[in-house]
């Protein structure tokens, strides 16, 4: 016989009470695991979807504004391309992707179009000096979510206004659908831009945006065409929304003090709001669970302690010190919390698995990390709820067995 055996044997008694005590915490943990699972997975899904929308931070020259940039003003100020390197070689975290662009309005065969120079992703990643940097050193994955995979997510969007391009040859270009119609060209044709011949790699699908009238070419080619070497109109950055919340913008401003750094408000605020909402829901439920679960377990322990007064009296009479009684009850609470945490986690996984597709439109796989979290929360709630009953039980006088006083 030892204290563990005493707890174990007692747990086998009063099964209905035990089950109802564990059930309260199990349901609570189950609900919160389900919500958390759904929110985490849908948060990732939202992050991927938002990533597909494109960059959410713009680095502009001092004095420029977003209108200048989108209007592709001929006299719009520029900033050095070298700033890209500053960002890439810094120790910034939360920058998923960045794309320097140079944009100007041009005239091709009498058609007024927008020429945009872009630095393709593969070129950014291939620069030796950037190989070991935080952004490209070994891991090009998103800092705040899953790596958006076009295949798995069925990404077919060809909008490039605020997106990066994976690869683009120095003499190649991509052309918007309207521009192609106006210039009467197709894929494989060549166009002459300010005396430079560019081969059309692809005619982009119709987007209904300014991209339809745009010609995309390699940044360095466009710089040569326009005669503004080493300059860009803007650097577009895909920043992790959490990192933006955590001050990514001010860190960028420290690195690039003579620039104007702005967020594309709608996207960022949507990202932040979505994450905040999910986290707030989880937090609110967690608080409710802590109260309801704690009170429920505490209530069970009160009832249990009162029912077991005689047994506790026997143990005290025989010579068990108060600390042993306290230990026995807290151990029981911990075991109940452990059981509640594990069963609650499993219940939450099942709930999320069933409800995920309906609520968030995504399949919710189990998140193993939540098991530890469930157990910790559940045991904590159980112990907190049991502290007072256990303390009072330990103070029971050992002579509760005696027939007459």
């Amino acid at each position: 016989m030892n204290l563990f055996t005493i707890v174990w044997l007692e747990l086998g008694q009063r099964k209905t009470q035990l089950v109802s005590g564990i059930l309260a915490i199990t349901l609570g943990i189950g609900v919160i695991v389900a919500i958390r699972s759904i929110s985490v997975v849908s948060e990732k899904a939202v992050a991927v979807n938002l990533d597909n929308l494109g960059a959410n931070i713009l680095v502009l020259p001092q004095g420029a504004n977003v209108d200048n940039y989108y209007a592709a003003d001929i006299d719009a100020p520029t900033l050095p391309e070298e700033y890209v390197e500053r960002i890439v070689t810094s120790d910034l975290t939360g920058v998923d992707n960045l794309s320097p662009k140079l944009t100007r309005r041009i005239n091709i065969n009498g058609q007024k179009l927008v020429l945009t120079g872009i630095l393709p992703k593969n070129e950014l990643a291939s620069k030796p000096i950037w190989q070991n940097s935080g952004l490209f050193g070994g891991d090009l994955k998103v800092a705040c979510g899953p790596n958006p995979s076009n295949e798995t997510l069925g990404y077919k969007d060809e909008k490039l206004q605020r997106k990066s391009i994976d690869s683009l040859g120095i003499s190649d270009c991509l052309i918007g659908s309207n521009a192609a119609i106006r210039l009467k060209v197709k894929e494989g044709d060549k166009i002459i831009v300010e005396g430079t011949e560019l081969k059309i790699g692809k005619v982009l699908g119709e987007t209904g945006t300014i991209d339809d009238d745009r010609v995309f070419a390699h940044l360095h080619t466009v710089q040569n065409i326009l005669g503004i070497q080493g300059q860009v109109s803007a650097i577009e950055i895909m920043g992790c929304c959490n990192a933006i919340s955590d001050g990514l913008l001010s860190k960028l401003r420290n690195i690039l003090p003579d620039t104007k750094i702005t967020t594309i408000g709608q996207i960022v605020s949507t990202q932040i709001k979505t994450n905040k909402l999910m986290n707030q829901i989880s937090l609110i439920i967690l608080i409710i669970i802590v109260f309801v679960g704690g009170i429920s377990i505490g209530n069970y322990m009160w009832a249990n302690v009162n029912e077991r007064k005689r047994e506790i009296g026997i143990l005290r009479m025989i010579g068990y010190p108060k600390s042993s009684i306290y230990f026995v009850l807290m151990l029981k609470a911990a075991i109940m919390g452990l059981a509640g945490g594990i069963i609650g986690y499993l219940a939450g996984v099942v709930i999320a698995w069933f409800l995920g597709p309906y609520i968030a439109g995504v399949n919710i796989p189990p998140i193993p990390g939540l098991l530890i979290w469930s157990i910790v929360i559940s045991v904590f709630i159980s112990l907190v709820g049991s502290v007072l009953p256990a303390w009072f039980a330990a103070r029971f006088e050992p002579f509760t067995n005696m027939q007459e006083v």
């Binding site: 204290l3 055996t5 047994e311 068990y320 027939q403």
Partner: protein, 235 residues
């Protein structure tokens, strides 16, 4: 003859809403190792209070209780628990068995703090259950045992730690005369054979006869301390 327990002028006052009750009033006596003491008296005379005080379950309001040179009235809760664990066995009228534990598990309870392995505990408990004639009932729950058998399990539990003292509170109160005699004979036997001091509270004059010393209480005051060997020792 070694004095094992010395009681000097102990008084116990219970303070309640309605006022104070003097449960014990300056009771003094000394008990020798191996005594079988019967504590008698009418209801409310303070018998159980005396037993509680002697066994370290309550502290007297005044006076001293000395067990082998240790003052129990000054001992901390922890020290009193230690005293009970190492020196005392209890046999109660209601048997005080834990209902969801088998006979052997009930007997093993005092060993829970002994540091002995489960195998050692089980062997010891089986031996003691054999002593009370219940080895074949070791895996029975209290509800599956007769009243007499339950009391024998309680006695086995009281004996498991080789106590110096056994405190018995109306041990035959719930038993028929035949079983009462059986239990009393058994207590007498362990008193003689193991030289264990027994202090037994009883209403029954027949049970009281088993003691070689009798303490009679009336209204919290010791009426007589009577020894069969020496007749009246003190008053």
């Amino acid at each position: 003859m070694t004095t094992i327990l010395t009681v000097n002028n102990i008084t116990k006052v219970y303070t309640m809403r309605e006022g104070s009750v003097n449960a014990l009033n300056e009771v003094s006596f000394a008990i020798t190792k191996g005594d079988f003491v019967s504590i008698t008296g009418p209801s409310g005379s303070g018998k159980t209070t005396l037993l509680l005080a002697l066994s370290g379950l309550i502290r007297p309001t005044a006076g001293s209780i000395i067990f082998e040179e240790k003052h129990l009235e000054k001992a901390s809760d922890k020290e009193l628990a230690e005293f009970r664990k190492n020196n005392v066995g209890f046999v109660m009228q209601n048997f005080s068995l834990i209902p969801y534990m088998t006979a052997i598990q009930n007997v093993m309870i005092p060993l829970g703090l002994s540091g002995k392995t489960m195998i050692e505990q089980r062997e010891l408990s089986e031996a003691v259950l054999g002593l009370v004639g219940l080895e074949d009932r070791k895996n029975h729950f209290p509800r599956e045992l007769s009243a007499g058998q339950q009391q024998r399990v309680a006695i086995a539990r009281a004996l498991i730690n080789n106590p110096t003292l056994i405190f018995a509170d109306e041990p035959t109160g719930n038993l028929d005369p035949l079983l009462s005699t059986e239990i009393l004979e058994f207590l007498k036997k362990i008193n003689k054979e193991r030289n264990i001091t027994i202090m037994m509270v009883t209403h029954s004059p027949q049970a009281a006869e088993y003691g070689n010393t009798r303490i009679h209480l009336r209204n919290g005051t010791m009426d007589t301390l009577h020894s069969k060997e020496t007749k009246t020792l003190t008053e």
